[in-house]
């Protein structure tokens, strides 16, 4: 019998093979995942809750299905964690907020239905920045998450818990959400692979909404194939989500393997935006990214200089649109039907609303709601919200022009490696700049992926970001898989994981 611990520290392909060959059972893996998650939680605080009963029930079912000879769904039997913004029926979905601290989900998100159908045991609900608002996972009402590479540093956000759990190899894959970089940036800071699919590729039904026109659920995993397997389980049209696409999706796992094994990077043009490499980009990060670009050339890609001239506007445009949509999406948290209601005696309805929301929401959430309310208000709507929507359309056009000249866009995922807890949390604007490379992807609705490309002098991971035209997730996953085959050193787990996750 193979060692579950070893398998969790290895590649997804090896894990899949072991499950298919019967050399490890899903139940064994799942129990180990639960053990690791719990053992590591005192240090990492990656998990808000564990879903043992569900996981073990699913694991046993998976083991039954595994008995019949393949082909199996690529995620069958693989333990997975789910960001606590995604509803899992019968379990708490807190969005890391006091507002939903005791909210038990009465229904499954469509992506959770997808995981259950694929046979992936759901191990627990993962910590995040409250309502997905943050880039460091320091904004959680359940406490900050720590980076397994260095416990004094942040894992990034908002999907910090998902990133930490995967980085620590407590699970080989987890679901996160990405509105402005919340999958990609933490993936970069924790040295794992994460992909935000094309907007509309994955259903948002049952996912606590932050910014409706930007949010997407996506996988974060030990490598590109882990992500491909999970994406396959959750992608597809959903009748419950009017923004989900009816476009059929490929079998991502098979297609990614095929792309890798057929060396499809050969001849692909990789666009490198000049203005990604300006001031504000850490020197080591730049060097690592340029070295990674050289690796892509080695694999047959051709580097091309491109322009994304409006990228500087991505930040203000994002912060107007996202906060505006959020101010409306979070209005339902009013302490009336569910969620937190203030216990303070209130004179009238208005006071009840004010107190419940002031007490239930953390500071960053309140800041963004107020900003968004302002941007939508009478007299300001045209100057702020409408203007931002117009510039958004121009940013999208920038990408259309760029993709006429290249097949992939490459650059850094984040301007620096993992920073220390407390380092950026005093000034929101400084924190917002962490997303400067990832925001535009969401504004344009494009797919984007981050993979580890090197480590800095402090042994902290450095992320390479790839962006592809709409619907080309396979190209992203395949390119990442090729890179990871050439550079297996980038897949090394942190010491934290190697000692069995705590």
């Amino acid at each position: 019998m193979a060692d579950a611990s070893q398998l969790l520290n290895g590649s997804f392909e090896d894990l899949r093979r072991a499950l298919d060959n019967g050399t490890v059972s899903s139940e064994t893996l799942t129990r180990e995942a639960l053990r690791r998650g719990k053992a590591g939680n005192a240090d990492l605080n990656a998990y808000i809750s564990f879903t043992d009963e569900l996981a073990l029930g699913q694991a046993r079912e998976a083991d039954e299905r595994l008995k019949t000879k393949g082909p199996h769904a690529p995620l069958l039997g693989v333990p997975i964690g789910v960001k606590d913004m995604i509803l899992c029926q019968g379990y708490r979905a807190t969005a890391a907020s006091r507002m939903l601290e005791n909210f038990v989900a009465p229904y499954d998100a469509t992506v959770v239905k997808g995981l259950k159908l694929a046979g992936a045991p759901i191990v627990g609900k993962l910590n995040l920045d409250e309502f997905a608002m943050g880039s460091s996972n320091e904004n959680s009402a359940m406490g900050p998450v720590r980076n397994p590479w260095d416990l004094s540093r942040v894992p990034g956000g908002s999907s910090g818990g998902s990133a930490a759990a995967v980085a620590a190899r407590a699970v080989p894959v987890a679901l996160g959400t990405d509105t402005g970089g919340s999958i990609r940036q933490p993936a970069a800071l924790t040295g794992i692979t994460g992909i935000k699919p094309t907007y509309g590729r994955v259903s948002r039904y049952g996912v606590v909404a932050f910014a409706s026109s930007l949010d997407q659920v996506g996988p974060m995993g030990v490598d590109a194939l882990a992500c491909a397997a999970a994406l396959e389980a959750i992608a597809g049209h959903d009748a419950h989500d009017a923004t989900s696409s009816t476009r059929p999706h490929p079998k991502f796992y098979q297609e990614t393997l095929a792309f890798r094994d057929a060396h499809k990077l050969k001849g692909l043009r990789v666009g490198v935006p000049k203005n990604y490499f300006g001031a504000g980009l850490n020197g080591e990060v730049e060097a690592a990214v340029r070295a990674a670009l050289a690796t892509l050339e080695q694999a047959g890609a051709r580097l091309v200089d491109i322009e994304l001239p409006l990228n500087d506007y991505a930040l203000p445009v994002y912060y107007l649109i996202a906060t505006s949509e959020a101010s409306s999406n979070l209005a339902r948290y009013d302490g009336i039907h569910y969620g937190y209601r203030s216990q303070h005696p209130c004179r009238d309805l208005h006071e009840l609303y004010a107190r419940s929301r002031a007490e239930g929401f953390g500071e960053e959430v309140r800041l963004r709601i107020l900003t968004g309310t302002y941007a939508l208000s009478s007299g300001y709507y045209d100057a702020y919200f409408r203007k931002a929507a117009q510039v958004r359309a121009l940013i999208k056009q920038d990408y259309e022009k760029a993709f006429a000249q290249c097949d992939l866009i490459a650059g850094p995922t984040a301007p620096s490696t993992a920073f220390k807890l407390g380092e950026k949390s005093s000034d929101p604007l400084t924190m917002y700049l962490s997303d400067v490379y990832t925001l535009a992807t969401n504004l344009a609705g494009l797919p984007g992926l981050s993979l580890n490309c090197a480590f800095d002098a402090n042994k902290l991971p450095i992320g390479l970001q790839l962006q592809a035209p709409w619907w080309e997730e396979t190209r992203l996953l395949g390119a990442a898989a090729i890179f990871q085959k050439l550079r297996p050193d980038t897949l090394a787990p942190p010491p934290f994981a190697q000692k069995g996750g705590g």
Binding site: I86, L87, A105, H240, A242, T243, I336, S377
Partner: protein
């Protein structure tokens, strides 16, 4: 004393007859236990998303076509943001600057008006209803069954000038929506709600005065009264040197007054923006045409058809088509074999007279069915009973829901046409009334009428009057 002109605009919210709600699969039904028809979407739960109900769109388009509107091929849904306990999401999905329908008009004939008047519509848009709040002294209860029910909001131009015009507009709009099978139009159940915007200005002035909004008035009669009161109140206020406050007012039917509900100055900034969860609504020309073709017959064409096919007078046709159910009853009666003119008469006189005694005259509640009425009419036609007897039979039918035949049989009301029997009665009357007999023989024609009456009295109306007359004449 200056002459004043009232300016009235009406906004109607009508619930659409779809089986499920505007943006989810939960059942759209009234009168069930509280909070039993709510789901994640209509309940505003975390993670819920709206998906547009296609049937609701069809019904809304039908309403627009029936009211002569331009159907916009592209329209957008927008969020109207405000906080209230019966609005679970904290916003209502509505339409703002790109509504489904633009323009349109309704022709009305107001009570006391000399000529018909065209009232223009501004727009019709789709939106979802909120839940219902019931207020008590120390608490409020919220029922979300109504949350998410599909509505059309029909906005008129401020073309009306009198409470009677307003009332006529509402009745006509109500009838059209029922005819188009878009809405049930039940005011008590709240599926047809009206708000009135009322202002006054000196006659001849083109600028509009400050308006107040009258809300939550659930009968045509009360709306007329409320508008009448409000006009007088505003005029008196201005003439007294005061200024009309822009506010929302309710109607206290007991006191017969409008009262202030909240100041419209504190009105919300709804922060409308296009709903990112719903794509733009794009309608093909073929789709709109199909709905136009499948439209149920509307009042004007039905009226014309009744005149043409049933040889009814304009007046009769007008009365019978004023209500869709009434028109259907009439046609069912004719279908069951009744002579059209007879049916029209019986319905308008006997049946409607009885129905008007009910709280709400609703022909759908009639204890006498169209088929039963047709039977009765035919029994007169074939001579089984007289017209007079038939009225008695009708009363019994209405009270007991029975067919005419058993009633006639049981009470022995079959018209007697047997000459022998009639002769016996005639002989008896002649014997008992020598005076009138003599008068008639002397040339007084009226005496015959008296004698016929006596015979009818004697036989309790069972004899066929024409025969009585004939036999009397022969014997005298």
């Amino acid at each position: 004393m200056a002459a004043w002109e009232a300016v009235i605009g009406l906004e109607v919210h009508a619930q659409l007859l779809s089986r499920t709600k505007a943006f989810c699969h939960v059942e759209n039904v009234f009168g069930v236990s509280e909070n039993t028809r709510v789901g994640p979407v209509s309940g505003g739960l975390p993670g819920a998303l709206p998906v547009l109900n296609g049937k609701a769109v069809e019904l809304a388009v039908r309403a627009g076509l029936a009211l002569g509107c331009r159907i916009n091929r592209r329209s957008l849904f927008a969020r109207k943001n405000y906080f209230y306990p019966d609005l679970p999401k904290g916003y209502q999905i509505s339409q703002f600057d790109q509504p489904l329908c633009s323009g349109g008009e309704i022709t009305i004939e107001a009570e006391g008006a000399s000529a018909p008047k065209r009232v223009r519509l501004e727009r019709i848009h789709m939106e979802e209803d909120a839940g219902k709040s019931t207020h008590f002294a120390q608490s409020t209860l919220v029922n979300l069954n109504r949350s998410g029910v599909p509505l059309v909001e029909i906005v008129s131009m401020p073309d009306m000038r009198t409470p009677q015009e307003a009332s006529a507009y509402l009745r006509k709009l109500h009838a059209i929506l029922l005819y188009a099978e878009v809405c049930d139009g039940n005011l008590e159940e709240g599926n047809f709600r009206c708000d009135a915007n009322v202002s006054v200005r000196p006659l001849g002035e083109s600028k509009l005065g400050t308006r107040t909004e009258l809300k939550n008035i659930n009968s045509f009669k009360f709306i007329e009264k409320a508008i009448e009161y409000e006009i007088a109140r505003q005029v008196a206020l201005i003439e007294g040197g005061g200024k009309v406050a822009q506010e929302t007012r309710g109607w206290d039917s007991a006191a017969g007054k409008t009262y202030s509900m909240r100041s419209k100055e504190e009105a919300h900034d709804y922060r409308y923006f296009p709903d990112p969860d719903l794509p733009p609504l794009l309608l093909e020309a073929e789709y709109i045409e199909r709905i136009r073709k499948e439209m149920p017959e509307l009042p004007e064409s039905k009226r014309a058809r009744f005149v043409a096919n049933y040889a009814l007078s304009e007046y009769d046709a007008q009365v019978l088509t004023s209500d869709k159910a009434l028109a259907a009853y009439f046609e069912a009666c004719v279908q069951a074999g009744a002579h059209a003119k007879q049916a029209a008469n019986w319905i308008q006189s006997e049946l409607l007279r009885e129905l008007k005694k009910m709280e709400v005259a609703d022909i759908r509640q009639s204890p006498v069915s169209a088929e039963q009425l047709a039977k009765l009419i035919n029994l007169i036609e074939d001579g089984t009973i007289s017209g007079k007897i038939a009225k008695e039979v009708f009363q019994e039918m209405y009270a007991t829901r029975q067919d005419p035949e058993p009633i006639i049989k049981e009470r022995g009301l079959v018209q007697v046409s047997d000459s022998a029997a009639i002769e016996q009665w005639v002989d008896e009357v002649i014997a008992e009334h020598p005076g009138p007999v003599a008068d008639y023989r002397a040339g007084k024609q009226q005496a015959l009428g008296y004698l016929v009456g006596q015979v009818m009295k004697l036989c309790q109306g069972k004899a066929k009057p024409a025969l009585v007359s004939e036999i009397l004449r022969k014997k005298l």
